[in-house]
Amino acid sequence: MAVLVRLAGDVDLAEEAVQEAFAVAAERWPRDGTPPSPAGWLITTARNTLIDRHRREAARPGRQAEALLLHAPDEPAEEGPVPDDRLRLIFTCCHPALGESARIALTLRLLGGLTTGEIARAFLVSEATVAQRVVRAKAKIRHAGIPYRVPSDADLPGRLSSVLAVVYLIFNEGYLSGSGDPVRDDLCAEAVRLGRLLAELMPDEPEVLGLLALMLLIHSRRAARVTAGGSLVLLADQDRSLWDRDLIAEGQDLVRRCLRRNRPGPYQIQAAVNAVHSDAPTDWRQVVRLYDQHLALAPTPVVALHRAVAVAEVDGPAAALTLLDDLDLDGHHLFHAVRADLLRRLGRDEEAGHAYEAALARTENPAEREVLLRRLAQIAEAGPPTRRCPASGDRPT
């Protein structure tokens, strides 16, 4: 597909040509037999369709150059999309001039190979909405002249972060769906597949490897993270024998490769945190050190919140609670959930109850809601607030 998009200079034209090629195949292959390289045959046929079309339209201004491009005699034999073409397509689909939802839909459609219906189901929007997003994005690519090009070295860091963000958003939508199913493995698997593709195309970019490692390490726990009944199991309570050791080994190996590059970035650090979690017992001091590094690179309240969770394990919940006071994250359900857990561990049940309710008001994810409701019920069962000893061996969450 990526080869054809480059040749056609237009996503719609390329798609049409591929559809025509499939139609010809459906007619010929049963009669003449399947060719030795079906994919190559389809690409060649679609390419010929494009050349015919360009010949017909060559009289129109601006088309001659494209027709010439298609006729280039030194064009190598097409066997499959060459890496450069897929890379160009990724950067086009994730161009920052496109809206976020359009970037996600285009990437899943053209690189992930999901149908419009599958994307619609994954993001709980109508198929018409996804179709319209894709059509509009393709029209903008064509009319505004968004190039099919790997950005120059100077622009690469900014543009790459847009690509990585799209893949991670897809992964997160699968991992913590806004509503509906608690976990959508298909989306996570698709994001991992895209992550592997990026790592193959850009093996020298440590953040690309970092993102892949991060997704692999989180994905390795998927069997332990949700019970048969669909309830979420917190990391500390997970059955580690259900973790996928192969994915952990691959993720940890990638983290080590990143460390050797010594060009840290947010994805690499989050991957490193998850690599630490993958070894029992978790070395929380190491996790705090990693979040210190993350905070230096990306001083955001969300990173500070994650750091506070690790601080609670090292210096106790009271120290972590003090850190939370400085964070402006009232709209974030995780902030209230973390605060609630810290208050609960300090025996301040009434305040904890209010914080759990605040968290519940801010998330739609059924599995997360269930965990919060469970905690809330535990406090209620404990009856009138009694001061519990903070060191009573309460499980970390």
Binding site: P61, G62, G145, I146, R149
Partner: protein, 117 residues
């Protein structure tokens, strides 16, 4: 090559004094010269105040004339640049530099017809 329209949007209210505007105009002039040297300049200028605008609307055989800008809003078009660029990235790079120079939001939009040459 494509032609792109850069529209600079100006908030309601008084324009900054000469101590600010002189610096901005010098930077805008420098950008124009750079665009001209690159062969990318088509046209550009600042607009008079929106109170100077007149709107014409066809209505049957008649054309109605009203005083004032087409759309009343908190922001209005303060100036435009039309430039020629190979693709959106190139146009956006010029747009970015205008946004910094004039300290106003800049909208970049492609024209419908391919630029000649």
């Amino acid at each position: 090559m494509k032609n792109y329209l850069l529209s600079m949007y100006q908030p309601e209210g008084p324009v900054p004094g000469p101590e600010v505007m002189d610096g901005i105009m010098a930077e805008v002039d420098a950008l124009r010269r750079e665009l001209q040297a690159a062969g990318s300049w088509v046209f550009g200028d600042g607009l008079h105040d929106q109170a100077t605008a007149t709107v014409l609307r066809a209505s049957g055989d008649d054309v109605l004339m009203t005083d004032g800008p087409f759309a009343e809003g908190k922001e209005h078009l303060g100036g435009i640049v039309i430039l020629r660029a190979a693709d959106l990235d190139e146009a956006l790079e010029w747009g970015r530099r205008y946004a910094v120079a004039v300290t106003l939001p800049v909208e970049v939009r492609p024209f419908a017809t391919e630029a000649g040459g």
